[in-house]
Structure formats: C-alpha cells, structure tokens
Symmetry: C2
C-alpha cells in the first residue's frame, strides 16, 4: 500500500532534492498541484480583521457541519453556481476536498459497495474508497477524455444495486477537461433510470476544486441542478491558493430523497473520522471572501505559455479547458519502443528528469503513455523550460532509435 | 450508529436550545469540553506576525507530516515532557487529537485487531477503532478509576496476538484522574512481557490533550520513556483553547522497533484519510507558541468552586487531578430507585435539566450511575449554579422517595 502510494508525492520530494543539488532556478518542477500564487491580499486583510474583532471567539467548537452563518453564505454562492436554491442545511464545511470526499464516502458506502470512476483519475480516490470498505470500479473515458456514459451505464448494470456512487472530477485532473452539460445530463438520466430499475439511486459525487479555474469563457455545468442525488465536494485549495489550510465544503442537492439522513450521516462521519469540524478561522475567512475570484487569468497565460513550449518540442497534448494541468502524450518513437503501455511514461519522465524537468507519469492516474505537467508555477519557469524540453525530446527520440 | 452517536453533542445542542428559551445567563451548561477561555493574547499576536512576514507562504502544501521546522520545535518540547530525546522524525502534525488518533489507528490496525481501553472512556474511541476495521475491548478501571493493569493483562492474554494497541487517556476524560508513574510502569512491563511471549508488542497509544491542565503540582508521567512502542497523540484544543482549529500532533517513541515504517504509514494515513496535513497557519502558530502554558491556574479555581458546589448539594465525586471535568456520583436514593445501572444517570441528567443544569450521563462513557460536568466555563456560572444543584438534588431525592 505504502510502496505504490503516491508517485506525485515522490516527484514532489524528488523536486526538492534536485533543487537542493542544482539550484531552485535550474529545476523545472511541474510535478505537483501546489499553487504558487499568493492567496489574494484580501485574504490576509480578512484574517487580520477577524483577529481584531475578537469575540465571538472564532477558535472554539461549533456544530460539526460548521458555523451556521458561514454555511448560509456558502449556500448562496454554491446555489448560484449549481443552478439550485440552497441554504445552510445543504452545506457542511470540510477539511479540504479530500476530507470532504472521505466523509461522503464513509456516509454513503456499505461494505462491498462500488464507486465508479472514469480513468484517468486522481489515484488516491482508490484509497479513499477502500478506507470505507468500498471498491473502486474504473471505466475508460472517451479518447478525448470526456466521460464515456455508455461505459458507466454498463458498469452500473453489471453491479446491479451494488453501486453506491459515481465519482467525477471537472475540470479534470489530470486532463484539464470540463465535462459538457450534455454529458452531465446524459449521466443523470442513466443514474435516474438505474435507480428506477434497481431501487437504489447512485449518488453522483462531483469533486470540483477547479470549478473557478477555467479558460476561454467556459463554465463548468452544474451537477446539483442535473440530478437529485448529486453531492458536490470542493475546496479553496486551488481557487484561493490555500491547499495547506484544509478548508472546503460539501453541498447536497436540495432535491435529494434522504437529505436529512445524509446530512446527519455526514455530520457524524465528519466527527468520527477526526476532522470534528473544518478549521474554524478558515471557515470565517472563506465566508468573508465569498466574492473573491480564482486567478484564472494568470493560469490562462501560463497555459498558453506551456502550450507554446510543448508545441515547440513537438509534444502532443490535450488542450486544457480548466484546472492547471496539461496532459501530454509521450512522443511516439520512445513510446512504442517501451513495449506496450505502462513502461513508456515512466521512462519518459526519467528522461525529462535528466533535463531537470519534473512531471508525473500518466500511470499515476491509470493512463500509461501520458505525462501530467502542473503549470501552477511562474510563467518565466514555463518559458525557461523550452530548451530543456527540446533537448529531452531529442534525447528520447535518439534513445528510441538506438533501442 | 447515528442514533447512539453522541450524547455529548446532543447535550451541546440542547444547551443552545435552552439558552435561546431561558437566556444564556440562566442556563448552567457543563455539557461540553469547549474551553471558554480565550487563546492567550500571544496567539493572536503570533498570527498577525505570521501574516506580516508573508513569504514563505504559510498556506501551501508541505510534507504530509507537517513543516519540518515546526516538527523540530515540537520535538524538543515533547521530548522534554516525555523524558526522551526526540527530533522531527518522531513527530507528525495532526488535525487535532481526533485526527491523530484516526491516523494512528488506521496505521496500526489489521482487520479484526483489538484495541484495549479502560472503562469509562470517551465513547467516540469506539467509532475511531471501528472506522479502521478494529474492535474495541473494554475493561473496567479500578474503583478509584486508576487503570486496572491486571484486567488489561487478562484482555491481552485472551486476545493473544490480536491486540494491536492499548489506548489510554491521562489526565482522564471524564474522571480527571492522572495515571501514576507506577501504573504506567506496570502497564509497560505487561506489554513488554506480552510482546516477548506472542511476538507482537502492542502499541501504547496515549491520548494526552489535557497534559498541561493539572492541579496541586501534579505532573503527568511520561509514556514514551516508559515503553518502546508508545505513541502520544495530543492537541492544542484544550491547552491553547483552539478546539475548532484542529491542530495537534503525534509523537513516536524513539526506541520504537519499526519506527520508520510507522512514520511512513502515518504520513500515508494522514494523506489518504483526507487530512493531507495539519492546517498550515496553525502549525506555524503553535510552533511559535511553544513555551506558552495552558491556563491551569484558572481551571484550578473553577475546580475548587465546583467542588464547593457539589459538596454543598451533597453530591459525591472523584477529586479531579487534571483536565476540566468532574465525575459525580448520582445521589443514592434516585440511583437505587432507577432499578440497576444504566437508567439512573440519564434520569438524573433529566432532573438536572429541569433546573437548567446540563451535564452528560456517565452512560455516555460506559459508566452508568455517574454524571460528567465540564468546568471549562466561567467561575461565576459555577458558583451561580449552587442553588440549582441543591434544588435538583432535593427534587431528585423527593422523587426517589415517592417512586
């Protein structure tokens, strides 16, 4: 379990090592989704204001779901995004999206239940599901990395009433895809039909930390408006650059059948999994910053820079519609030379590392033959990596021709 | 699961309701261990300073175990308290003690393993152990609520090598007991002998959030110095009055056999349980406040006030040596009238509630016939409750004589 636990974290640590040896400015570290952009200035002003206000103490216990006034504020914003009317009874503050997902999975899973996910996906989903006695069922995405709703329908049919949930992530890590409204609508109809047939309506869990980081005027379609058993889990890790602060929330569809039970179950799992509640001061901070926007424009410029770099090196990729990842195809010769899927992306990542470029093999997301680059780094670093990328591809191609 | 989940939380919510009806100053709420004392002024000064310093950003990801410099600082303090030499490799920052306990239990439990705990105990331990496929085995404490080491030895012998850990809590919730060094020493020898015999050394997990809240010059004896497989889990919830901020840590015995493996497992469980890391800003804050002391003197005065109140009402109790709880015996007549253990404390709590006094039935800790009062409330509230206590006991006695 430990050995295969996280290629991403390994790259993160490898990056730190290489920087110590070669100097931080010589290493092109695109390994981890750790925003380098400061939280907005308003964030620190807000914290100071909260500290000055003093009472009521913002550091004590509160209901496990979070401060009621905070949840009311979040509800208004989440409702607007999701095309539904929400109030505080639909919101539970969480310890980031990862804490929220664990709380949700513990609440909805019976032992042996299945959770369907589209491959590629953030591989820790597998651990989250296993934590609570569930089994992750992977189905391939479409070639363009849109959801393959037919495959999901097949997985539901095969599992009959054992499917507790379908877990999606849009904008998508690692591909940067946004699932179109039409796809979400089709998925909702499949889930609805499955529920009618089996008597068990699978939850649609939408992991949405990148909702605000979108390009070219795109909008992430709502899931709460699309399906009555939908649950949104999100965080401020990416939108406000607060990944270390562990603050996010869970939002429930107002049309959910057992809404009160699900809410109670989530308050309970939040408590007994040891979160108890989302960090208090950060709850107040994100409520005060409800109108703050993610720095999507900054990421858009970086995306453009990264595309230029990859184009220049002759590396193909999925055009990112959101999030701050680009999913790049391992160049042909080396890829085919590696002898089937699985090996090549790891070898290409090693080759990149020789040129002090850090990316994460697609295998870490269940997609061998691809590499993920995180562009939540300064645009200058991205542009400076151009010649290293060219050199790496040249070396890779040469090695491929030799091999 | 939900229905029996938490009497404490129920009282907490009942308290809020009663205060809304009768006015906050008319309700004597001793239900929950939510410190009413402000965090020390130095805490807010420290947060401001951290905000002013700006870079390096305190809000990003860091190793799952926490900021290395923070862990080094914590290690020095924890080592001093525990009578051993620690460094950062022995410390993992956690999402409070509850998050730390869950991370530890997930790391050390195999399916079906047992965890031994002395009754009474904080009932959520049961859920924490069940979360990770374990089974909680309760053994009664001594009549004076010290650990009954012989009973623990019997439980170990009965389980053979199925015991993963013994879980203790000192100063103790709900009794206020501190386990003496001699008891910890005897327990360590029992664990050592059991390990020699079975080949499996149970971990000794010490939940110590009240370590600094002690009275009459008492000191909580170290566990890391006493036993090589000891793990301390603690938080700043009580000592710095930060329960809502979810900040604590795990400390490993430097003599632990598989120390590196346990550390890696804990970093992994911290990540996949969705904590990812302890809240970043609070990590920096508690490291900066390393020499700050808990307001034990304030709690000592409250303890004295509460003892006077209970003495005045003729209610017997365990003299608290630490923490901020007093465990009081349900008065005789009503108790015996209730027809055996289990009913009486709930009925007595109902009777107290009629007099606007909120406590938690001992049943919530596996000890029917007792009531827990939390005295982390203003001394004035404690003193003002004297006549309500007297009236409640009078009503209780009268009802008992009638019934």
């Amino acid at each position: 379990m430990l050995a295969g636990s996280s290629l991403i974290r390994k790259m993160f640590e490898e990056g730190a090592r290489l920087k110590a040896v070669h100097g931080a400015d010589k290493v092109f570290d695109f390994s981890i989704g750790n925003p380098d952009i400061d939280p907005p200035p308003e964030f620190h002003r807000t914290l100071r204001k909260l500290l000055d206000e003093g009472r009521p103490l913002p550091h004590g216990y509160m209901p496990n779901a979070g401060f009621p006034d905070v949840r009311e504020k979040i509800a208004v914003k989440a409702g607007r995004e999701q095309g539904v009317t929400l109030d505080g009874s639909h919101i539970l503050m969480s310890v980031g999206a990862a804490g929220g997902l664990n709380a949700v999975l513990k609440a909805v899973l019976n032992p042996g239940d299945e959770v369907v996910v589209a491959r590629p996906y953030f591989l820790e989903y597998r651990a989250y599901v296993a934590n609570h006695g569930g089994r992750l069922v992977e189905v391939d995405a479409m070639p363009d990395f849109n959801l393959d709703v037919d495959r999901i329908a097949d997985a539901l049919a095969a599992a009959n009433e054992k499917t507790a949930a379908v877990l999606i992530n849009s904008p998508h890590n690692p591909t940067g895809r946004i699932y179109p409204a039409e796809t979400i609508g089709r998925l909702a109809r499949v889930l609805e039909a499955h529920g009618k047939k089996t008597g068990r309506y699978p939850y649609l869990i939408a992991d949405e930390p990148y909702r605000e980081i979108v390009y070219d005027g795109k909008v992430v379609p709502p899931v709460l408006a699309a399906y009555h058993e939908a649950i949104v889990v999100t965080s401020y890790s990416k939108s406000l650059s607060l990944p270390g602060e562990r603050i996010g929330y869970i939002a429930l569809s107002p049309a959910m059948r057992d809404k009160e039970d699900v809410f109670s179950a989530l308050a309970y799992t939040t408590r007994v999994l040891g979160y108890v509640n989302a960090p208090a001061l950060m709850q107040r901070a994100v409520a005060a910053l409800i109108d703050e926007k993610a720095p999507a424009a900054v990421y858009a410029k970086r995306r453009d820079a990264f595309k230029e770099v990859l184009d220049g090196a002759g590396i193909a990729y999925v055009d990112p519609e959101g999030a701050f990842y680009v999913f790049a195809k391992v160049p042909g010769e080396g890829g085919s030379d590696a002898g089937g899927p699985g090996g090549d992306d790891r070898r290409f990542v090693d080759c990149l590392k020789q040129h002090l470029i850090l990316g994460v093999p697609g295998s870490a997301f269940g997609a061998p033959g691809w590499v993920r680059f995180a562009y939540c780094v300064d645009e200058k670093v991205i542009r400076a990596s151009a010649s290293a990328f060219k050199a790496a591809v040249a070396a890779w191609t040469a090695a491929g021709q030799k091999g």
